[in-house]
Symmetry: none
Subunit: 222 residues, 4 copies
DNA sequence: GATGAATGAGGTTTCATTCAT
DNA sequence: TATGAATGAAACCTCATTCAT
């Protein structure tokens, strides 16, 4: 098989056709509508019929592009993973971790998370839900989105520990995982937190402070 | 209406009858089976028929006690709220927050959360899921379970702030909410975190340290 | 489990209910309609919807009694197996195989087959079809219907061979199998054979003669 | 219309075009794949889509050559009819029916049937199935395949009757039909018969003996 | 109190088939 | 000639829910 053929094979539709311009547009329409529907529908209530109707086609057409509704979700989530790697990780890896710059970096991280969830909250929630319910495809995806960030944090923690800023017995991975949990959960549950009467800004600040003291070992800045 | 009558009314079955001994036992059987089924079934896949058959009765009987499957879930969750108030909050309110005792208290808090989730993880996950999906009854319930704890933490934070250990502009509520998010999420997602190769003990320690420095304003203990 | 309970368990409906009078009647109605529909419909075109409609109920009700349309067919075929064992085998095992009586016995056998197919032809055809298409449940059933007869014939052949009426190297089982094939096929394909312009009586006679000479080793009677 | 034109017309594709080299090749590819798929698929489960994809083309193309899947089957079966006329009939019409040669001829006939089914069993089964299910096109085809043979046998029987070897009241057609039924059924159901533990050779011999005594009126040879 | 029985309602999925390119 | 693309139509099956006993 030549490279060209291999490429074609990858792009084949479910029934073996090599998709053309029009087909790709249709597929995209399905994805767009799926995303749109998630805004107001629990992913469990996503009906193929509804997506198809919203996309102005018939269920039969949907099945020419996706085996089931979840596959469309996964396709959407796939995109997210790619974006997440950059958008969440960069503030960590390119951030300034010097004593003077570290707090600002932590603020950027918190802001990146909140922003990412602002843009993709519904989809992240779906990934979370499906992962919680035990779906391995979504668990893997969730890891793919958050893993690069987790490792970036872990490596910063390790560095700080080596500089003597953190206790020698501290486990960088566990530490990083806890930060990720905090960031992800807070970002995803703002609906609940804001019910207590606090603003997003306050929340972001609280997270930044925790990050700062947890990563640099310094007392939280005033 | 006398107090006695009011009490009866509360216990009335859906069709208006005042339940007797046998009826209460049946109802309990439904609840027990519902809990048992949650262990291996996503709550979305809970079928009235299955619960009923597992309980050795018929769906028709189920409807004499609950309007739908979710109502049984809510009944179970109700219990949880009561327990949560005590079990999670006590370590905070009865804890020693003196400089020497504070870290130990933080460890107790982390341990309490992990333990609570060990015992009621599936049910808490259900509450979380349903809340995330927008079900207000479950959102309210989730708040009921975690609220007392959140407020207890907030009040400790406030105190520490007044003592000058924390910046004056720090919002105790936002801070507390972030802690709760961290504790709850980590406890609920241990499956994912442990995949990174860290132990529960490490995780608990990481949380305790974060709590400690975040609440007391002191650098994390070595 | 007591005998009584075991009995109950056997009779349980698909959803675990212990069927009552009314339920049994409904189930029977489904079976009756299924049989009736086979008269003019290929079994492949049997639709649950149609059976249900014919029985004056809904598809949902059908599924309380049978997992799918084939299961109803199998239930019908089951009955047949029981009847076949008696009706087809008796003429052989109780038949007179003395030189004077043998031909009459062969005529009875041929008549029994033709009669059996007159009564149950459509169902036998279904069993045949499904067996030919490779469905093992129906293959087993087909064997159940015809096996006792085959063995009865084989044992008569063996006896005749021992008396020296048939060649010593003749394989009784192969011989019997060929007879069964002939009887079954002719009985089932009368539509085709009669198209040649022969009567059922002639066909029956031809079969009887072949049986006679094949089993007793004597020249066919005039 | 000249002969040439008439010929062309026969070969016209469904849309009226006179097919060229390429078109004929495509059509053949469809037929080949159809035959191949029958090996492991019930003809009821033959999907146009599958045939087309297996042939490396698209369903739309299929419909340029055949009105539906059955038409492809009929085209395949057509070939069979032609072959069957020769291969099955020759052993009868060219056979030696003298007292010394007749048994050998019967063995050839049995062998011819078994061999024919070995080569075309799946297709013959399809013809049989469709005929049994009442499809007239296939019934006619089945007759076309087997009729010449039936009549050849009938004519031999008639001759033997005239020579006094068979009873005067014996109906040659009925007799022949029964033989055909036996030969066809046994050949087609070898899967079942061999399950009894007999070999193909034994089966062939049993059929030959029955043929011999039934056609010549002589006792089966030892 | 308990439960056999029945069913409306609705989503899922599969195909044959057509059409425009 | 060939084929991507789209779709009507129809069967399947599952549940929650009700009702009469």
């Amino acid at each position: 098989m030549t490279g060209r053929q291999a490429e074609d094979a990858q792009r084949r539709a479910l029934d073996g056709r090599v998709p053309g311009e029009r087909g790709r547009a249709t597929r995209q329409r399905f994805l767009d509508q799926t995303r749109r529907m998630l805004e107001d529908t629990s992913y469990r209530d996503l009906r193929v019929v509804d997506i198809a109707r919203a996309a102005g086609t018939s269920p039969a057409t949907f099945y020419q592009y996706f085996a089931d509704a979840e596959e469309a979700l996964l396709a959407l989530a796939e995109d997210l993973a790619v974006q997440g790697e950059h958008r969440l990780t960069e503030p960590v890896s390119e951030g300034d971790w010097s004593p003077t710059g570290a707090y600002g970096t932590c603020e950027s991280i918190a802001a990146a998370f909140v922003g990412f969830w602002d843009d993709h909250g519904t989809l992240m929630a779906v990934i979370d839900l499906a992962a919680l319910e035990g779906d391995d495809r979504f668990r893997a995806l969730r890891t793919r989105v958050l893993n690069p960030f987790t490792e970036a944090i872990a490596s910063v923690v390790r560095e700080q520990r080596e500089r003597g800023n953190l206790p020698a017995d501290l486990d960088p991975t566990a530490s990083a995982a806890v930060f990720v949990a905090m960031l992800a959960h807070v970002s995803g549950h703002r609906y609940g937190i804001e019910a207590y009467g606090t603003s997003t800004a306050e929340i972001r600040r609280s997270m930044a402070r925790l990050l700062y003291s947890g990563i640099t070992g310094a007392a939280p800045p005033r």
